[in-house]
């Protein structure tokens, strides 16, 4: 410590020598976010200007790509120099930061601005409450479904999309027989594979067992998980997945579907933002159907992530930060523009579903009709465990026959990660 203080003095005098002066403006709200691609950055920029026009605050942004963002936030959290506001994933990731004491609760703002009457109750209950206090506002929510190329399906003579597993297997067999890869999966960056794991466990063993897997009370090599993964691995062995999934990113896989090499992909609603940006028309060029039912007794579940905004514990401009969070979720026009641009759904109850295109309207009714909204795997289980599982998915896609051994190895690693 003494050493640190000494070195500080030396450096400060050095800096004084160079005439360096540090200054930061007080009315500014600093924000880090991971909407760093052209599209996300542009739309975030629009949100900022709407907010600045409405309140007179100024926003200072720092966009960082997804993977680098995680490192960046960690390093800054370790040094108590988080930005005033940052985007983060609702669920286990926010829980982790809350438990580390790095976030400010926003209960006062929540009550003052009447967010109870604005944020849909299901979302508010599952995504904003941590250890009994409010910490997050939902920017939007996404839903993962089976997105398909309409023309490919029509060419294969399929007009009715399957709702049960037998029908789904038949569909895959038909497509395969025509020389088209039924399913594209881009697991190069691992996470796209998680939706298969999530839906298969939810639709065979049900939400309670799945929650047990997420919190460590049920093992990865338990019968229930083995059975669910077994179904998945049979599909891989049957050749229903396009080759080289571990070499493709999610956009590669989406391209394979849009250019007709593959028929469908299990992906979040952000794929509509990507495809629309590439000039495809929802409902005409592509469409979606919900993950087919396997066990009719299991309650209907939908899977998806919620991106949120949180306020850091070391916030400099608390008033401005809370004003931004409140504006982001409450301002109806802002919610409509933002969610439409990124291909998501608003959690604000005042947003009329009719503002969305017909496809998103069906997404909303699918989600409303489900009895359970689950966060996808890497947001539902603690980050150290998620690391284990995400690598496991890649290994499963590479060696489907060894899934028993892969799952029990993953259980060993997950157990020690849970113990941490």
């Amino acid at each position: 410590m003494l050493c640190l203080r000494f070195s500080k003095i030396v450096l400060i005098s050095l800096l004084g020598f160079f005439g360096f002066v540090s200054a930061s403006s007080a009315s500014e709200v600093t924000i880090s976010h991971y909407f760093s691609d052209e599209f996300g950055k542009e739309n975030m920029g629009k949100v900022f200007s709407r907010f600045e026009a409405a309140t007179g605050n100024t926003m200072k942004e720092s966009p960082v790509g997804h993977e680098d963002f995680k490192t960046d936030i960690l390093v800054r959290g370790a040094s108590d120099s988080l930005p005033d506001v940052f985007s983060y994933w609702a669920g286990a990731r926010v829980q982790f930061v809350v438990d580390s004491g790095d976030l400010s609760p926003i209960d006062d703002m929540w009550a003052r601005d009447g967010l109870d009457g604005i944020v849909a109750k299901a979302v508010a209950d599952s995504a904003t409450l941590y250890n009994g206090a409010r910490y997050l506002i939902p920017m939007q929510y996404h839903y993962a479904g089976m997105f398909y190329n309409k023309k490919v399906m029509a060419d294969a003579g399929i007009t009715e999309m399957p709702t049960d597993w037998e029908g789904f297997m038949e569909l895959c067999e038909t497509l395969k027989g025509m020389g088209i890869a039924p399913i594209a999966l881009g697991s190069k960056f691992r996470w796209p594979a998680q939706f298969w794991f999530d839906y298969l466990i939810l639709n065979t063993a049900g939400p309670e067992i799945r929650a047990g897997v997420m919190d460590g009370s049920i093992a990865y090599d338990s019968d229930e998980v083995m059975a669910a993964v077994g179904i998945w691995m049979d599909m891989v062995n049957n050749g229903y997945f396009a080759a080289n999934s571990n070499a493709d990113t999610w956009t590669d896989a989406s391209d394979k579907v849009s250019n007709g090499e593959a028929a469908m992909t299990l992906m979040g609603t952000w794929i509509t933002g990507y495809w629309n940006g590439n000039g495809l028309t929802p409902g005409e060029d592509y469409d979606f159907f919900p993950f087919p039912t396997i066990n009719a007794d299991a309650p209907v579940s939908v899977v998806g992530p919620i991106d949120g905004l949180v306020v850091s514990a070391n916030v400099q401009n608390k008033e401005g930060a809370e004003a931004f969070l409140s504006f982001f979720v409450s301002d109806v026009d802002n919610q409509i523009e933002w969610t439409k641009a990124v291909g998501a759904v608003s959690a604000n109850v005042n947003v009329d579903p009719s503002v969305y295109n017909e496809l998103i309207q069906r997404v909303i009714s699918t989600v409303d009709g489900a009895s359970n909204f689950a966060f996808n795997y890497d947001l539902a289980t603690p980050p150290p465990v998620a690391e284990v599982g995400l690598s496991m998915f890649q290994e499963l896609m590479e060696s489907p026959d060894d899934y028993g051994a892969i799952l029990s190895r993953a259980q060993d690693s997950a157990q020690s990660a849970f113990a941490q």
């Binding site: 640190l4 070195s7 500080k8 450096l11 400060i12 800096l15 360096f20 540090s22 880090s32 760093s36 691609d37 052209e38 950055k41 200072k60 942004e61 720092s62 966009p63 790509g65 680098d68 490192t71 960046d72 390093v75 800054r76 370790a78 040094s79 108590d80 120099s81 930005p83 956009t251 590439n278």
Partner: protein
């Protein structure tokens, strides 16, 4: 002995070796250039051409739009300026400190100086992530995050080992008698260093300037962590950010990569002659 000489090939006879060597080099050069050519090819095609003909086809016409797009982007200018503001002072400072330390280890050794030298050298051998968090905490407590200062300081510190090593080796080849003569004439050590040792060491300085410039220019990790606003980003972080922006525009990505690599190439071509000389005279002699 006489027979041996008789069997030596006369220089007028046809010697196949140069042709073989030249062909070998030509093939190898082709292989070595292929990746770079790929980027160049991609940079002179439109996105549509790439989508239709693939990345590796020879385009029918030259398309310079990607370069125009890159060079006209004000963000790219800012990235370049920031990178220069980091690279030039950090290169100069690390070499200056290496010269000072190297001179002591070569010409003024003392009891324990070898140990200090070893500790300094060991700094070259570990991955930077090891010291990332402590350094961030340190510069944060100074209020220097999102400025270029931490990157300059860190690169200066991380450059000290290699600069000290090469300068020590180089100074060791400067004859002691030169130093002693200068001291007898009343020069002090600093004057010996600047007037006798350094003028003899220009090639070593060229080597270090090239290596340090290249490494610092191309660095990704430190600017990524220590800068946050777009106005402070350096070129390599900028490329990755822009990559997100042009996720389908591969031609622009290729042009960006080429433009970003140009300064290091220029520095090498500029220092090349001294570089080889420096390696021959000092460094190589261990």
């Amino acid at each position: 002995m006489v027979e041996q000489v008789a069997t030596l090939p006369s220089s007028r006879e046809f010697n196949p070796w140069p042709v073989v060597v030249f062909t070998c080099l030509l093939v190898l050069a082709g292989l070595f250039l292929a990746p770079t050519i790929g980027v160049i090819l991609s940079s002179i095609k439109t996105t549509r051409e790439i989508a239709e003909g693939g990345l590796w086809n020879i385009p029918t016409r030259l398309f310079l739009g990607n370069f125009v797009e890159v060079l006209a982007n004000p963000a790219v200018h800012r990235y370049f300026l920031n990178t220069l503001l980091v690279t030039l002072p950090a290169t100069a400072a690390s070499i200056a400190l290496g010269v000072l330390a190297g001179y002591v280890f070569a010409k003024l050794p003392f009891w324990g100086s070898n140990l200090i030298f070893l500790v300094l050298i060991s700094g070259m051998f570990f991955p930077p992530q090891v010291i990332l968090i402590p350094l961030f905490q340190f510069f944060n407590s100074l209020g220097l995050i999102d400025t270029l200062w931490p990157i300059i300081f860190i690169h200066t510190a991380l450059g000290i080992p290699i600069c000290t090593l090469l300068m020590r080796n180089f100074f060791a080849t400067v004859p002691n008698s030169l130093r002693e003569a200068a001291i007898l004439e009343g020069a002090n050590e600093f004057q010996v260093l600047t007037r006798v040792a350094l003028p003899l060491s220009l090639p070593a300085l060229a080597v270090l300037a090239t290596l340090q410039f290249t490494w610092i220019w191309n660095d990704f990790l430190w600017p990524l962590i220590f800068t946050q606003s777009d106005e402070k980003r350096t070129i390599m972080v900028g490329i990755v950010n822009l990559k997100g922006q042009y996720s389908v525009a591969w031609g622009v990505q290729g042009a960006l990569s080429l433009v970003a690599s140009l300064p290091t190439l220029i520095v090498f071509l500029f220092f090349q002659r001294y570089f080889i000389k420096g390696m021959t005279m000092g460094a190589v002699k261990g």
